[in-house]
């Protein structure tokens, strides 16, 4: 890590410098009316080398998959193959315009169509839309589809969405944006959906259920078929949150167990880079009942030609144009390299890696639901006096590991959610286990080491309270 403080670009600026030379004006100048002109523009002024060093140094202040093991639960921080990047950088994509005719964009539409077909096969869906730009965006599309489906049948009473208490916050937030109220369904002693509570909540006002399987506890919902049946019998639909699809590729097609509509996070399962927060793709796949409601346009094929088409009863556009196309190229490249056999191997290895870590760590770090896990598991970090999960997480940084997801899911106190992914070797996992065991020991013998961690980072723990009380959100010269 680069420990030296890096000035802000504004602080590196010197009047008159410029980092890019532009062509000289080759047409006559036309004056801009005075009334339209802006008077000042306080952007930094830098030469190219300064810009290059600035961002190179900044990059060295990040942990990333390319540099460290990054077992961030629920985020599937798997290695992003470099071939994905090479494919996405092809000039044939970069210069392709979304509003040029389909004839000009046959390559782009073909790729979208082929990716749609692949994802239909993986999920068992009738049709998919690649337009949503993120998991939460896909969820929103899916909930809109469920709403539109009920309304199309003249059923306007269905205003209630059931959501297990272990769900991501995006699930209830998406429902609010779609005008639905949420009902929280508790988990049972085994970490699954409490079936009695589910049955009690199912009436003729239920629009559906949003279920993450494997759940955020890293556990497969064993009652999934019964859950789908109960909700369907009540007239509701089943939304599958595919955040954890990495455990299931080639293992289970979600549509086979009663999922009506679902999103996959292509930036998780299908190895497109997270990019420090995005862009992602929240593909939505649907079964027969909902396919016509998908957002669009989506790609279709007529003979040898490809064309963008609007699904018959579409909920409309979720964004302008056709989605985060560059991300689609990466995901397609990945699927094309792996094939069906490789995808099954992905899920198998991800699940084996997680179970291996769990087996080696669960004595030191208690696991609330000690079942066999899927691609991740949730341990707890409150086993030593005066030491919290946050301290353990920060101490892991000192050992050169990115911390797991912490304090989520909310139903496990002091949660440490660990997802190794399939791309890590046994040696890496063993190194991680060793560090974690050492930290567990330190938590008892020298807790201050943990509470003061991390020690060798560009900054120590930051005062987030002061930052939120008096926010400084922009450079103020």
């Amino acid at each position: 890590m680069n420990l030296k403080p890096e000035p802000l670009a504004f602080e590196l600026s010197s009047p008159g410098r410029v980092g890019v030379a532009l062509p000289k004006r080759d047409v006559p100048a036309v004056p801009v009316p005075e009334a339209l002109l802006r008077d000042e523009l306080k952007l930094p002024e830098l030469d190219e080398l300064t810009v290059v060093r600035h961002f190179t140094r900044l990059s060295q202040k990040n942990y990333s998959i390319d540099t460290e093991f990054y077992p961030l639960g629920s985020c599937t921080m798997k290695y992003n193959p470099k071939a994905n990047e090479a494919a996405a950088a092809l000039p044939g994509w970069k210069g392709s315009h979304p509003l040029a005719s389909d004839r000009c964009n046959q390559g782009s539409i073909e790729l979208i169509w082929k990716l749609q077909e692949s994802l239909k096969a993986i999920g068992g869906f009738e049709a998919v839309s690649l337009q949503p730009a993120a998991g939460a965006h896909g969820e929103l599309a899916g909930v809109f589809m469920i709403r539109a489906y009920h309304l199309s049948r003249g059923d306007s009473r269905r205003v209630k969405m059931l959501i297990p208490d272990s769900a991501h916050g995006t699930n209830p937030a998406s429902c609010t944006m779609a005008g639905l109220t949420t009902v929280t369904i508790p988990s049972d002693a085994d970490g699954g959906v409490d079936m009695a509570a589910l049955k009690a909540a199912c009436d003729d006002t239920v629009a559906g259920i949003m279920i993450t399987n494997p759940s955020t506890l890293g556990l497969f919902e064993r009652n999934i078929e019964a859950i789908a049946r109960i909700v369907h019998e009540a007239g509701g639909l089943v939304y599958g949150d595919g955040a954890n699809m990495n455990a299931l590729t080639g293992v289970l097609r979600p549509a086979d167990v009663g999922i009506d509509v679902m999103h996959f996070n292509l930036h998780k399962t299908f190895s497109t880079p997270h990019g420090g927060g995005g862009p992602g793709v929240g593909m939505v796949g649907a079964g027969k009942a909902l396919a016509a409601f998908l957002p669009g346009p989506i790609a279709g094929r007529k003979g040898e030609a490809y064309a963008m088409e609007v699904p018959e009863r579409t909920i409309g556009r979720m964004k302008a144009f056709y989605g985060n196309f560059g991300v689609l190229v990466r995901a397609y490249t990945y699927i094309r390299m792996l094939g069906a056999e490789g995808l099954r191997r992905v899920a198998e290895s991800a699940v084996l890696n997680a179970n291996y870590l769990k087996a080696r760590l669960e004595k030191a770090y208690p696991v609330k639901y000690p079942r066999r896990c899927m691609h991740e598991f949730v341990a707890m970090g409150n086993f030593a006096d005066g030491v919290h999960t946050l301290d353990i997480a920060k101490r892991m940084i000192d050992y050169g590991f990115h911390p797991p997801t912490i304090y989520f899911p909310l139903i496990v106190p002091e949660a440490l959610m660990i997802e190794p992914t399939e791309t890590e070797s046994k040696e890496t996992l063993d190194g991680f286990v060793e560090a974690m065991l050492k930290i567990a020991e330190e938590a008892r013998t020298s807790p201050e080491l943990l509470r003061e961690a991390p020690h060798a980072t560009p900054v120590g723990r930051l005062d987030e309270v002061a930052a939120a009380r008096c926010p400084v959100l922009c450079y103020r010269g």
Binding site: Y407, E464, V465, A468, R469
Partner: protein
Amino acid sequence: MSVDKNSRYRSSHEWARKDGARYLVGISDHAQEALGDIVFVELPEVGKQLKQGEAFGVIESVKAASDVYMPMSGKVVAVNDAVSGDPALVNREPYAGGWLVAIEASAPAEWDGLLDPAAYEAEAGKE
């Protein structure tokens, strides 16, 4: 956890206390402790009519956000600008300088129906 002997409470952790002709409303010591360092307080406009149990504002810490509910029905006659400027005041003095709003009660008898300090302490202690 401390409780103010002169206040009465809602189980959602708000208190109300007579203050001359009006009632002051705030959150309990237990509530401020559970929220952690408070970073922002959103309060209603003066003049707003609110019913008992209705949300009148939001209190935010770094890791949590919590709606606050009216312990009694009434009209907001004053809001505590001091806590808007210094939200930590709610942490330091939840029953004194950290009050949130003052109301003109429309049904003063509601106060008698709130939890008394001992009952509230027993209930909050169970959490």
